[in-house]
Amino acid sequence: MSVITEQSSSSLALVGGRLAATDEKVTLVIRDGRIEAVTGPDSNHGADRVIDVSGCLISPGFVDLCCNLREPGNGQKGSIATESRAAAHGGFTTVCASPETSPINDSGAVTNLILDVAAKRSSVRVLPVGAITRGLEGELLSDMAGLAAAGCVAMGNGSHTVGNARVLRRCMAYAQTFGLTVMFSPENRALAADGYAHDGLVASRLGLLGIPEVAETTAVMEMLLLAEETGVRLHLSQLSCARSVEMLMEARRRNIAVTADVAMHQLLFTDSALSGFDSRYHVRPPLRSESDRQALLAGVRDGVIDAITSQHQPHDSAAKQAPLAATEPGLSTIETTLSMGLLLVQRGELSQPQLLRALTESPASVIGCRAVIEPGAPADICVFDPGEVWTPSASNLCSVGLHHPVPSRSLPGVVRLTLCNGVIAWSLQPA
């Protein structure tokens, strides 16, 4: 299989594919980076270039609310060039870049640097998330208005916590002043302490230091109450507990402006993945119990959880080559996110429309964008064959991080073509 990396012609037609949303067979005409027409299969498109996508589904490109590109500062773990290419391979056309870079993205200058590099080297749209506190230290407010002016789509604290409720309240109030969305991964650091695994059966048996559910749920409750009071638009990232989903539902009933996401691996795995001390599955928040997994799936099905993220965290091999407690958390996921989702569809745990909604329009709306296939919209498109299988390996993954969650397993769903702004970001010729 070879990869085409050429620029798009000025007009392009995708023929023979079906729209994922409606299963209609269509011809998609793209001109100057935008969708010009969505027409019947046999229409005369007059495009300069034609790509046959027979047998494939056409979806809006996926939108990732939580992705670590590792640039600037962590070249051994990845770069905007490598990780955006991985994103395109995974069918993503928009990724929100975590502020956890080095230096941390807590000033307009760093945002500009990220956007400059992305403009030159990225295969997909990169939308930075600004650090809501200086240095992500949870003590002083960052220049949020300046970060937003430079191009940050939301303010967050990465995987760090804002431990002080007074600072958290002021973060929210200040962000609300400028109509900014805040993104927090809820965790009470005092309760999580030195933990690195779900505080449950597996941790008790293996003697792993546990992170109890209350480390998440007390933080969710605190954030919901503060969001209600300040009126800020709150996005809760990476929920892991059943009880968090319940609280989210209750908050929605009270009309609190809150959205939420879950990482794909939380929908597929539980803490039993750690039973052989497999450091690959050291993630944060930790993989929890089967009943948590079921509640998270139900939350996605019902739309209470808006989005599924990759929570892509590429690492160099040394970061994972140590006893479990000494390894760094995170999986390299963005290239297998769609396939993991399709596994859930195969098992009947999600429907395909539920999966695609949580990868496209719902995350887009969290950051005030749209992800649609209609005339006039930007040509951000993912074309995939849901029935074709592939086996991820070092030879076919683009990310620097090779610790993906489904090793040596054949997976459904091959991304054949990704267009970002009408430009081919990823293309796989038929085998």
């Binding site: 048996r205 293996l206 003697g207 792993l208 039973s275 052989g276 140590a322 006893p323 479990l324 407690a325």
Partner: protein, 337 residues
């Protein structure tokens, strides 16, 4: 509900069920545990000879790799290896390479380059010996000498040997483990061994702050009240209480802990008259156990230490046997678990 531990089982056992590493008691069946105890019994006699050596590991190099300090465990492993005629290298890594920034993987590569046959590993992190067993070249046996809060399988087996010496068998036995179960690798391995060997009941006795989440899932019952928990006991095992537990807000004071959970003569009198008293050591007199009990007629604490050498000889010789069986099965040495 018990969780299957197949990745570890296939790592530490050969195709035909022999020990290749000794990482945990999870996944080891009663026949194998009994085999370890029987083999250890046969080695007790070696310790009583004037020349205390057998040639089972002659020409082999055993490295004691201690990332956490230990006196008793390391010295009994050293004696066990020497009585098996192995060459022994003791490395205290907490004062050596890793403090210079070398990663565990790199330390191991260097030690392997010295053609070692066995690593005896103690580490403060749960699963470290498991990681090492997965990383080393095939043919090198890993023996867990205690990892974090996870397991201390040789300690648990020497405790089982001590119980069997005094009680004959495990059938019908009521055993209590008292104290800091949360932080105890010894307790986890003991509970597993006692259940597999057929003890009637394993009780853990401690306040809720010193118990792991869902501790019953390990196969024990819980009693917060020591007086009630001591009833009808055949064996009581006291755990060491670290002073740091007060700082972590797990306990108010040593005095209150001793009053509620310390083994005094009065509390011991509530157990079966022939109840034996055990402690993995080192003991804190007056914190978890009264001196008169530790030194009393029901105490078998020093038997535990003596049995430590025989158990470690048994496990080391069995794991080396499993490694040799692997090598014979695949003469090219390409065994990957």
């Amino acid at each position: 509900m018990t969780v299957q531990d197949s990745p570890t089982t296939s790592l530490q056992l050969t195709e035909d069920g022999q020990l290749r590493h000794f990482l945990t008691l999870d996944g080891l069946d009663r026949a194998l545990l009994t085999d370890i105890l029987d083999t250890a019994d046969s080695f007790i006699e070696v310790g009583e000879r004037s020349i205390k050596k057998v040639p089972l590991l002659r020409g082999r190099t055993v490295v004691n790799l201690f990332f956490e300090s230990s006196t008793r465990t390391r010295s009994t492993f050293e004696l066990a290896a020497k009585r098996l005629s192995a060459d022994v290298l003791n490395l205290d890594i907490n004062t050596s390479a890793t403090s210079k920034g070398e990663s565990l993987s790199d330390t191991l590569l260097n030690l392997e380059a010295m053609a070692s046959d066995m690593f005896v590993v103690r580490h403060s992190q749960s699963g470290a010996p498991h990681f090492i067993a997965e990383s080393v070249t095939p043919g090198v046996a890993i023996i867990n000498a205690g990892d974090g809060r996870h397991a201390h399988p040789t300690q648990a087996m020497l405790d089982m040997q001590t119980i069997r010496q005094h009680k004959g068998s495990f059938e019908g036995l009521k055993v209590a483990i008292v104290g800091d179960v949360l932080h105890s690798r010894v307790a986890r391995s003991q509970i597993r061994a006692l259940r597999e060997l057929g003890a009637a009941e394993v009780r853990v006795i401690a306040p809720a702050t010193l118990l792991p989440r869902d501790v019953e899932s390990l196969g024990c019952t819980v009693d917060y009240d020591m007086a009630r928990g001591m009833r009808d006991l055949d064996v009581v095992i006291m755990l060491r209480l670290q002073k740091e537990r007060m700082e972590g807000a797990l306990l108010p004071s040593e005095r209150e802990f001793y009053r509620l959970y310390g083994l005094s003569r009065e509390k011991l009198a509530l157990a079966h008259p022939e109840c034996i008293v055990m402690h993995p050591g080192p003991i804190n007199r007056g914190v978890e156990i009264e001196s008169a009990v530790a030194d009393g007629p029901q105490s078998v604490i020093l038997d535990q230490v003596t049995n430590g050498i025989a158990i470690r000889m048994a496990v080391m010789s069995m794991a080396m046997g499993g490694q040799m069986a692997d090598r014979n099965r695949q003469p090219m040495g390409g065994v990957t678990p």
